[in-house]
Assembly symmetry: C2
Homo-oligomer: 261 residues x 2
DNA sequence: ACCTGAACACCGTTCAAGT
DNA sequence: ACCTGAACACCGTTCAAGT
């Protein structure tokens, strides 16, 4: 379907497809393959085609090389995906715990995490598929635990909180992506060289809820505006705040004026 | 690999493989295909082989039928997966909202949801891949919203809370499954006809954490016992309670003695 | 009406062979 | 040392043909 004749560029199918780089002249110096270059090419394919379109053969094509050549540098497709996952969080640093600012530090963490996940298409799906205890990611877990414990949370809460927040971030971004995909799919390939158009979709969704029978879905109808409109940034913050308040409730001093937001 | 000669049954590879029913005599009355029977067979294959092993061809084989025959009853593999997803929650009812018992009602909801997800292998992965606004699932969303609003939560919180809890449930069960898979994979196919052995894995995990350098991972080491041991039931409840307390913090009356648990 | 057989356009992975 | 070519054992989906 996307296998048009060479030299027939298709319109960009996704917001990640920032000007499809020309296939042929992509490898100018014929520099040798490497783990790093394979991962790089995989990200390019991911952004172009999405996770379902990410195949070893396409990565090889992106590099102007045979499929089997890849297996000298990555041991399997799963290995490649794990490489991408850990590379996504390269240089992701957690701050020294500051007990007075633990909420703010967690908000920063969540925002930075979401930003990274949003930086490549379907990245949340890849992230969800990996338990975060690979060696490279352990410092992040450690950093989160440090913040929780410095804040004064009981150990059994601290032990659970990292997973809770990380799952929230992954899950939220995953859903964001699903909405975009669904919008893109419904538009067909027709006139939609416009990116998924993040606003028109919210309207369609609201219309959908509004069309439901009032006697069966009174609450869904009443909240349709809130559930779908509002920037997803503020929706993300709302959910995050619920979690942070829940954590705060386990603090010895239930600081009264500390109402957040 | 699992294509042994007919009549050479392999040892059960998963806890779901409760006594692999014999292939040949499976279709006694030669009753005609139907949407329902296709979904049924798909669940069998899922439990045997996991989501990665769930192919249209295997579903067809399970039914003693050609692949192409399936397409008269389901329009695609995605269609089949969505059918499985909605069927999983068949008969899932939400109670009439009782403002005094909203926490308990949500705990029941979460437990019932987790139980359903655990009833078939990799079901959380399938659930995660579906945004819960398919027509069949809308009553659940409505029922959740009803509970939140009856409890007195502000609308913008109620609108977010359903997603938050559902994502938590999916994410938690997803991770449970990943630990089991990892344990099963590390055991190789060797002597492990014993099911993943949910306890030995916790030990291995704790050993892993304990082996980390103490100066770099003091908190991870200190909490290793809590992060991995303890039944996953109580870990599930802990995370859930954090969310419920967060929600409760938005109630007008911050009921003082209402400390839950 | 319901299913089969064969084909098409893909997959991930392996491995002997080339340079 | 690094890559190619060909093969193997799979995929999802379509469609003419059989009964």
């Amino acid at each position: 379907m996307s296998n048009a004749a060479p030299g027939t560029p298709a319109p960009p199918p996704s917001p990640w497809d920032r000007r499809r780089r020309p296939r042929a002249q992509a490898a100018p110096a014929r520099l040798p393959l490497s783990r790093e270059r394979v991962v790089e090419a995989a990200f390019t394919v991911l952004d172009d085609q999405g996770l379902d379109g990410l195949s070893m053969r396409r990565v090889a094509a992106e590099l102007g090389v045979t499929v089997s050549a890849l297996y000298a540098h990555v041991s399997s497709k799963d290995d490649l995906l794990e490489l991408m996952y850990t590379r996504l969080f390269d240089g992701f640093e957690l701050p020294e715990p500051d007990p007075k600012r633990w909420r703010e530090q967690l908000r920063d963490f969540a925002h930075a995490g979401r930003r990274r996940l949003l930086s490549h298409r379907d990245m949340a799906r890849i992230s969800m598929a990996h338990v975060p205890f690979t060696a490279e990611l352990l410092p992040h877990v450690e950093g989160l635990l440090a913040i929780f414990r410095a804040a004064g949370l009981p150990d059994h809460i601290a032990a659970e909180a990292g997973d809770l927040i990380s799952t929230y971030i992954d899950g939220f971004v995953l859903e964001e992506g699903m909405w975009q995909d669904r919008a893109a799919r419904e538009d067909g390939e027709e006139a939609s060289l416009a990116r998924p158009d993040w606003h028109e979709m919210a309207d369609r969704m609201r219309d959908y809820f509004a069309s439901l029978p009032a006697e069966d879905f009174p609450n869904l109808r009443a909240l349709s505006g809130l559930m779908v409109s509002g920037s997803s940034d503020t929706r993300f913050d709302t959910g995050l705040e619920i979690i942070l308040r829940g954590l705060a409730s386990y603090l010895p001093d239930t600081a009264p004026g500390d109402d957040a937001r």
